[in-house]
């Protein structure tokens, strides 16, 4: 018996897209489509254009996971992470290649799958548990534990449509977390919920790993990846580009494959459909002379700007940035309507093209590489778009405080503090 939990070889997954449409929705389309194909075939020199209408979401992926290993998977939006998990969870078949899974897979691809709003919390626990592959006796045994973990005890006999989104989510995660599969697949669940609950979830995942279960953990949260995993896969454009110890992999991921020219643009397939009507266009880092650049100086101000389009007007929209170190620690979060006057003035943002721009003051950041994440949301209503690693840039520390000593300074910021030295006479 091997001690491998997962082994995949040359796994590829192809989807059909484009003009011919991913599918024929109606018979009319089939008839028209068939007619077009026949017509094309009759045309001299016309070739079957199969490749134009297909996209390889995964291409030739090979890796294995030892039993009990916690493996991180990182990659940009649309890189193929979710497709990989779907193939591993047997939701969809690979187009090529093969895989072997030893043990029951529990996927938290999206918590709350199969929850029905009309049913009560209690009913949904049983339904959701069964959908995730639990036996009725197993659910009954863990019922109290699930309710307790979810903290919705008082409302357990209320239809979940009356739950707040936080309660709904806690209950859903709670069921999934008690599944006890041999292989747990987690995708982005930690992006939601309040901080306290997130902490509990991380704890639960840690426990799962401690018990010797195998975990595949997909996240955009680099600090979570660094904390929970020892090894990480980096996926880009459907290919496995790197596998290595997590710190190296995260470093590689954050510094490779990204726009290095100080500008990041988004392709259509990198923007999820539910971002509508928000459409990110470009994120730019400009140095003190206004030039788009990968490198800014610590001692000079710089400008960060996000260009985007609204296809429809949005109420209460805030567009903002996260600044992170390459180790995944947050340095700050800031939104364009943080100032009350701005919030009032742009309470409704009509459709159109915008740039939200802010200035990073001089003497703020330490030398090193930083990551900017983007978030466009309406508070408590909807998160339109989020890209936690939109761009990376370098801060050149030349002339910054303390550079007289050629030693690295700890910390993400390097402010020019006003030191006073007082000599006390004795």
């Amino acid at each position: 018996m091997s001690d491998l939990a997962i082994r995949v070889e040359h796994l590829s997954k192809q989807y059909r897209i484009g003009a011919q449409a991913a599918r024929y929705d109606t018979l009319r389309d089939v008839i028209i489509g068939t007619a077009e194909r026949v017509a094309n075939r009759l045309k001299p020199g016309a070739k079957g254009s199969n490749s134009a209408n297909t996209i390889w979401a995964l291409r030739d992926i090979s890796f294995d996971v030892r039993r009990g290993q916690v493996l991180g998977i990182v990659g940009r939006n649309g890189a193929g992470k979710s497709t990989l998990l779907k193939v591993l969870a047997r939701v969809t078949e690979p187009t090529e290649g093969l895989g072997e899974i030893h043990g029951r897979v529990g996927s938290l691809l999206e918590v709350g799958t199969g929850f029905h709003p009309e049913l009560t919390g209690r009913e949904n626990i049983f339904l959701n548990g069964a959908i995730l592959g639990m036996k009725r006796s197993e659910i009954a045994r863990k019922f109290d534990e699930i309710v307790e973990f979810s903290e919705v005890g008082a409302f357990i006999d209320t239809p979940v449509k009356r739950y707040s989104s936080g309660m709904y989510l806690r209950l859903a995660f709670s069921v999934a977390a008690h599944l006890e599969p041999e292989i747990l697949v987690v995708d982005e669940v930690l992006a939601v919920g309040d901080a306290e609950f997130q902490r509990k979830c991380m704890g639960k995942m840690g426990d799962v790993a401690q018990e010797g279960r195998t975990v595949l953990f997909v996240s955009h949260n680099m600090s979570a990846i660094l904390r929970l995993t020892q090894e990480t896969l980096v996926i880009d454009k459907g290919r496995l580009v790197m596998r290595g110890p997590t710190p190296q992999a995260v470093d590689y991921y954050l510094s490779h494959g990204y726009a290095t020219e100080g500008e990041r643009t988004w392709d259509a397939e990198e923007v999820p459909a539910d971002a509508y009507p928000f459409k990110p266009l470009a994120l730019r880092v400009r140095d003190s002379r206004g030039k788009v650049s990968d490198t800014i100086r610590s001692t000079e101000p710089a400008t960060l700007e996000l260009e985007y389009r609204l296809e429809e007007s949005i109420t209460g929209l805030r567009v903002g940035l996260y600044l992170m170190s390459t180790r995944g620690e947050y340095v700050f979060t800031s939104f364009d309507t943080d100032a009350p006057e701005a919030f009032e003035r742009y309470s409704v943002r009509p459709a159109g093209r915008y740039i939200s721009r802010c200035t990073l003051p001089a003497d703020l950041l330490n030398e090193g590489r930083f990551v900017i994440g983007v978030n466009a949301s309406s508070y408590r209503i909807k998160r339109y778009f989020q890209d936690e690693q939109a761009i990376t840039f370098t801060v050149d520390g030349a002339g910054a405080p303390g550079t007289v000593w050629p030693e690295p300074r700890l910390g993400a910021v390097r402010p020019r503090l006003d030191w006073q030295i007082e000599v006390i006479k004795e």
Binding site: G97, S107, L109, G114
Partner: protein
């Protein structure tokens, strides 16, 4: 602590051609059939003021309409040997399996599309979805069966041992619905025309089945009875009226219906399994 490996190894590979039915996998997930059926039943009557009463009202109202239009105005006779006054019971005995079939087919044909969120997120044998959609109609059926027994008492229709055949006849009706439902649900994933077509199909199908009229209208001699039997619901309804009212017993028409159901069911199962691999990408 180590986790013992209890589950068998699962192989992921592109499937080609016809796929085995894999009934063992289906059996392992049998509890999910129960839970999905239970969900469908539970949700259907939540927030309906009359709730389960609808299961009684619907067939009773159709029976009244049939009795007035076909029994009184058109004067259609019931099966040979059944008095004209029994027409309400006569039509109700056919409405019972017909409504079971109709509801099961309606629900199962849209079941995959309606459960798209499950198909794209978790693995389980996909056959479970149309199975549970078909099974969800059984509760309504038993409620209206009670109504039928009440009607039989009211009209003084004698109960006979033939009633013991009812479960088998119900099974035949369910298998018919499942067989057609498998075809239509899988087709509907790709062609949404199917769900537009189903109401029309059902209406035409009802007139092609002896629900409002007697099977005696079809000449016994010649090929017509046999062709008629290709519609499996004629066999089911003939059987129901025989078991409940003591009309003419099932004959070779029934045999044809059974063979037809078996053929439809097996081809439906294999067609479904063949299309299954594309569901998550297409739905």
């Amino acid at each position: 602590m180590t986790v013992e490996n209890t589950s068998p190894t699962v192989y992921l590979r592109p499937s080609k051609g016809w796929i085995p039915l894999n009934l063992a996998d289906l059996w392992a997930y049998r509890e999910l059939v129960y839970f999905l059926t239970w969900r469908d039943i539970k949700v259907r009557y939540k927030q309906a003021v009359l709730g389960v009463l609808w299961a009684i009202l619907q067939p009773v109202m159709i029976m009244v309409v049939f009795t007035v239009i076909f029994g009184r105005l058109a004067g259609l006779p019931p099966d040979a040997g059944i008095p004209q006054e029994w027409y309400p019971v006569f039509s109700f005995a056919a409405l019972l399996p017909w409504q079971l079939f109709q509801a099961a087919l309606q629900r199962s044909s849209v079941s995959l599309v309606g459960n798209a969120n499950l198909l794209t997120k978790v693995y389980f044998p996909r056959l479970i979805i149309p199975f549970s959609a078909v099974a969800a109609g059984l509760v309504d059926f038993f409620i209206s069966l009670m109504v039928l027994f009440a009607l039989m008492l009211a009209y003084g229709v004698p109960f006979t041992w033939n009633l013991l055949w009812l479960p088998l006849l119900v099974l035949l009706a369910l298998m018919t619905a499942l067989a057609v439902g498998l075809w239509l649900s899988a087709l509907n994933v790709q062609y949404r025309d199917v769900q537009q077509m189903v109401p029309f199909l059902l209406q035409a199908w009802m007139y092609a089945s002896p629900v409002a009229y007697s099977i005696d209208l079809i000449p016994v001699d010649g090929p017509w009875r046999l062709i008629y039997g290709l519609n499996p619901m004629t066999g089911v309804i003939q059987g129901f009226r025989w078991a409940l009212l003591g009309s003419s017993p099932p004959d070779q028409l029934m045999a044809i219906s059974v063979v037809m159901v078996v053929i439809l069911l097996i081809t439906g199962l294999y067609y479904f399994r063949r299309m299954e691999r594309k569901f998550a990408d297409m739905v």
